[in-house]
Amino acid sequence: MVKFVQAWRKYRLGKWALALLILFLFLLPVPQFVAPEAKLVTNSLLFSLTQMFMLIILASDWNLIGGFTGYYDFGHAVFFGLGAYGTGVMMAQMGWAFVPALLIGAVVAAVFAILLGSATLRLRGAYFSIAMLGAFVAVREIIRVLRPITGGGSGLTLPPYLNRPLFYYVLLLFMIFVVWVIWWIRRSEFGYTLIAIREDEVGAEMRGINTTLHKIVVFTLAATFTGLVGGLWAYQNTFIDPDVVFFDSRTLDMVLATLLGGLGTVTGPVLGAVLIYWLRDVLWANFLQYHLIIQGLVLILIVLFLPEGVLGSFDPNSGTRIGGWVGKILREADGETEETANAAESVEAPV
């Protein structure tokens, strides 16, 4: 194990593994073009993966505001809905093409985030969560009532466009972009500012950080990404109505994926979303009637036994048993490299 860690570090295997994974994901739909009859890769697999990419983006967005900044947004799916409806209304009612309509959807989500955030981000803790949950329900009902524009309860039908590989590639690229942006933020001064706000908002403000501005900026960024996913989802689904778009557990999925993977880490939500998606696929297939119950149980189990998430539990500083074990291996790996370095020195010294 120690040898493995050292080799991993020496040859930067992490980077190679990531590059290989991305390459694999890019090449995956190729059999579909080359030899569609062979059915090596089915459209339904591509569709499944596309949904998974969406969940990864959504969880990563939620993590920006919930994990980095420490504001638990229990109504974040409101931006998904606004993006979906912004796009849907422009396409179905105004006859716009998809790309400009999608941009309108993103703008609607962003503007709403600035307005809503200016009010709700003044609240702390549970009050913010409840206010966002309220906003989610309120926007759903407003959309239901605005029948002339949104089609009300009977929904809107978008011009159908069935090209699974295209959606697959768009979402794959978008997912890579979002995760890259979040990785960048995490190591930037801006990212550290967000963590300072999470750790001690009053202290951060007094140490010269304009906390309100930072919160609104990150909230709007997360909302814009979420809105774009909403718009893409609407087009892919070709039909939107308030209950499908503002699905109750949509925010819950984001929270669940982030918590399962590891709150406030870059890769946590990605890993969490993959696990959740896989878990749900299995549950849907085998226990259709009970899948929500089992999903709820999983959430309870995470909070009880993995409060730091899967990735967080491997952190040597987390105080968990696995963390201690990882820490020991890492220290041994460090120690051995130091020893070998010392040995090399002592050999050289007499010369």
Partner: protein
């Protein structure tokens, strides 16, 4: 002292009042702090010292009166704006970012001065790490630089807070009970550091303190609060011999008062 008092004040409060409902935590407090001085702020528990600090750093709204810093009215400014003007503080109840390392804590305390969000998008650290390392040397904590702040001892956290307050190179530093819970040797270190910062770098200090010897050794002037009102102001010697202060602070008969704070 006379030379100092002829200068333009660095910090000036005019009739500063703070009400919590019907309770007047501060009423009509006037004070001035001149550049280059070390001023002490003492008073019994609940006399409004920390509330005054909170009003100055603008965490609390000022109910009445005005505060000027460097001639600028800061009565209605936001806390971060006051910090940008060059006023930093430490806290009675320690506030450090527990989950971040010592060096990250320090870096987080200064980089945001007058800088737009777009400029914050570069990777954190590099430029100011030199200054952060200097400060950890100065505060004798270079051996814990990579340690998470949450794992430090109480005394080390206090030192880290002082470092965080110094990081943006402020002109005025408010220290709220910087020596509470710290062992005597470390108190001497803090005292030396404050003196050095004051004489060498011309930093101005306003400190809340219960340790009378600390006040006596360091301060040019002392300012006493009692029940939210200014009770007295003067040199440490004048204050120690002021009958009203002795009654308020050390209890009615003041002979043994000094000993009480020796422990």
């Amino acid at each position: 002292m006379t030379a100092v008092t002829q200068q333009q004040p660095l910090l000036e409060g005019r009739g500063v009042s703070k009400y919590f409902g019907g309770l007047a935590a501060l009423s009509d407090v006037d004070f001035t702090v001149y550049p280059g001085e070390i001023m002490g702020l003492i008073g019994p528990n609940g006399s409004g010292k920390t509330t005054l600090f909170d009003c100055l750093s603008r965490v609390q709204d000022i109910s009445k009166g005005q505060v000027f810093f460097k001639g600028e009215d800061i009565t209605r400014k936001k806390p971060y704006q006051v910090a940008h003007l060059g006023l930093s503080r430490t806290f009675q109840i320690i506030r450090v970012y527990n989950k971040l390392t010592v060096i990250e804590n320090l870096l987080l305390s200064q980089q945001w001065r007058n800088k737009g969000i777009l400029k914050q998008l570069r990777p954190s650290g590099q430029q100011m790490e030199g200054r952060a390392k200097e400060l950890t040397d100065f505060l004798l904590m270079s051996h814990v630089i990579k340690e998470k702040a949450g794992n430090l001892s109480g005394g080390q956290k206090r030192l880290l807070e002082i470092g965080m307050a110094l990081m943006p190179d402020p002109d005025l530093i408010l220290l709220d009970e910087a020596t509470s819970g710290i062992n005597p040797t470390l108190i001497e270190t803090i005292k030396d550091r404050i003196r050095e910062l004051n004489s060498k770098y011309n930093k101005t200090f306003l400190l809340i303190e219960h340790n009378i010897h600390f006040i006596g050794d360091l301060c040019d002037r002392v300012f006493v609060l009692d029940y939210g009102q200014k009770l007295a102001e003067g040199t440490p010697d004048e204050i120690m011999n002021n009958q009203a202060v002795i009654e308020a602070y050390f209890g009615a008969d003041g002979d043994e008062g000094d000993d009480e704070y020796d422990e």
